[in-house]
């Protein structure tokens, strides 16, 4: 599903040059649940951004879901992104739309037939246990509910891969556990998951394969 080969990423030039990633090589197979762990600034987010082509590596190869990511033309980027669901630390819900509209909006903009939008949006809400809050606006949701809505939006388009960047970063322990349970359910339905977190304890708790990063390098791959 994911293949990175000697990937490097630098920002700036000359004295201002900053190496965000260096010589990263690993692979994730279809159906795996992998945790990407490391302190803030280790390069986790940059790595995730390379996967959905928000950044281009300075060197090396990146392959995701059969796409040669750095070589993708601008016209083909949407195709890659339709195969990936992305969840961030902040839920990034659209304020003027209800939870249901946040999900249906995404389905509409990627060209889902109108008749399929409502059933798919409700199926996604059911999967994250948020059906009862479909008509609520983001400002009426708790942080945990907002993150579940964000997960529902990510999985509504049935992605092959779910990228979660610190999805529990803003949540208390109880809410974080709820979100991890939801992500686990999504994985068990066959979606490959790559979850980035700075919390080592959370990585231990999940008992999954864990990639550990330090200062832009992959220092451990275990589990």
């Amino acid at each position: 599903m994911i293949r990175l080969h000697h990937v490097g990423k630098t920002f700036g030039a000359g004295p201002a040059k900053h190496t965000a990633l260096a010589d990263i090589t690993f692979g994730i197979d279809k159906g795996e649940f992998v945790v990407l762990n490391g302190p803030s600034g280790a390069g986790k987010t940059t790595l995730l951004r390379l996967l959905y082509r928000d950044e281009v590596p300075t060197e090396g190869d990146v392959e995701v879901a059969g796409f040669d990511v750095p070589a993708l033309s601008r016209r083909r980027i949407p195709r890659l992104r339709r195969s990936i669901g992305i969840v961030f630390q902040d839920a990034k819900l659209l304020a003027g739309r209800t939870v249901f509209e946040n999900i249906s909006f995404v389905l509409r903009v990627i060209g889902t037939p109108r008749k399929d939008v409502t059933p798919r949006a409700f199926a996604a809400l059911k999967a994250v246990g948020l059906s009862a809050r479909a008509q609520a606006y983001p400002n009426q949701l708790s942080q945990g509910e907002a993150q579940r809505a964000s997960l529902a939006r990510a999985i509504a388009k049935s992605p092959q891969l779910l990228l979660a960047d610190e999805p529990t970063g803003n949540l208390d322990e109880e809410m974080a556990d709820e979100i991890l349970d939801v992500i686990d359910d999504i994985w068990q339905r066959g979606t490959t998951v790559l979850l980035a977190t700075h919390q080592a304890a959370l990585a231990d708790q999940l008992k999954r394969r864990t990639l550990t990063m330090r200062q832009g390098r992959l220092v451990k791959d275990e589990g």
Binding site: P78, R82, S83, I86, L94, I110
Partner: protein, 294 residues
């Protein structure tokens, strides 16, 4: 999909608020100004056409030819370049025409010892020759004929009317272009404001895999809607102005230009005005800054 995008465009239009409204008003103003000059030019153009058809060159003859010679003379004049029609006016016919034009004073003519009027040829130039240069050429050709004593007539004043028409066209285009530019810039500003308001939405669209066309189409539709609304308002203003002022101006038009009535834009021209407005708005929408994948 198109219905969904149109709905998004309507939402964007509401978000644009006052700037969006200003853009619509500026498009209304520019197209109303353009339409006004278009109407003036259209009616002047009709007057020019009408008067071009009435241009005549009269060749006065030294002597009235005998009946047998008239056909030969008419045939020779008809064969000249730039002649559409020619009519022989005998001395007697000229005199009775004078009497008719004198009306109640016609008896004055009876006091004359003899008919002083010469026979003449009334020449109608072809449409191509009904210009100052064309009629000058025709006058020269007629003057060269031995039977002809003097030639009168020309199209200078028709040409000056045509120049007025061109002036109105150019002024209309100039004023319309300046206002259209302002309208495009306002639509661009309105759309850019919407773009800023839609930052989050666009980011989400970008992340989930919406194509750039889907991201930008609502902006284009928003601009087009503004343009179309502006054009429709301009058209409504023109229709109203025409309905109110045309009946009052028509007597003056008849007297000065010989036009029976002031015409309005044809359905095709009205459609062109609406399409022009839509394109103006769409162009403004397209110019809005920011590309989805930049």
């Amino acid at each position: 999909m198109l219905g969904f995008l149109a709905g998004e465009a309507a939402r964007d239009l509401r978000r644009a608020g006052r700037v969006g409204l200003s853009a619509i008003l500026l498009i209304t103003l520019s197209l109303a100004a353009l339409g006004c000059f278009w109407l003036l030019s259209l009616n002047l153009g009709r007057a020019v056409e009408q008067w071009r058809e009435r241009v005549r060159v009269v060749a006065y003859l030294r002597e009235e030819p005998r009946a047998a010679g008239v056909d030969d003379l008419l045939a020779r004049v008809q064969a000249l370049d730039g002649v559409q029609r020619v009519r022989f006016v005998s001395r007697a016919e000229a005199l009775s025409s004078l009497k008719r034009s004198l009306g109640a004073q016609a008896s004055v003519v009876d006091q004359l010892p003899r008919n002083p009027l010469p026979a003449s040829l009334e020449v109608t130039p072809t449409p191509e020759a009904a210009t100052p240069d064309g009629t000058r050429g025709l006058v020269q050709r007629l003057s060269a004929m031995s039977e002809v004593d003097e030639v009168q007539g020309g199209a200078e004043w028709v040409e000056s009317l045509a120049q007025w028409q061109r002036l109105f066209e150019l002024t209309g285009l100039g004023v319309g272009a300046v206002l259209a530019l302002a309208a495009i810039l306002t639509v661009t500003t309105a759309t850019t404001l919407v773009l800023h308001a839609r930052r989050d939405e666009m980011e989400i669209m970008r992340l989930v895999g919406a194509t750039e066309a889907v991201i930008r189409l609502p902006l284009l539709l928003q601009g087009m809607t503004q343009g179309l609304l502006g054009a429709a308002l301009a058209l409504a203003a023109l229709v109203t102005a025409h309905a109110v002022f045309a009946p009052r101006l028509e007597p003056l038009l008849t007297l000065t230009l010989g036009l029976a009535r002031a015409v309005f834009l044809s359905p095709a021209q009205m459609a062109l005005l609406l399409a022009g407005g839509a394109m103006l708005g769409a162009f403004g929408g397209l110019l809005a800054k920011g590309r989805a994948y930049s």
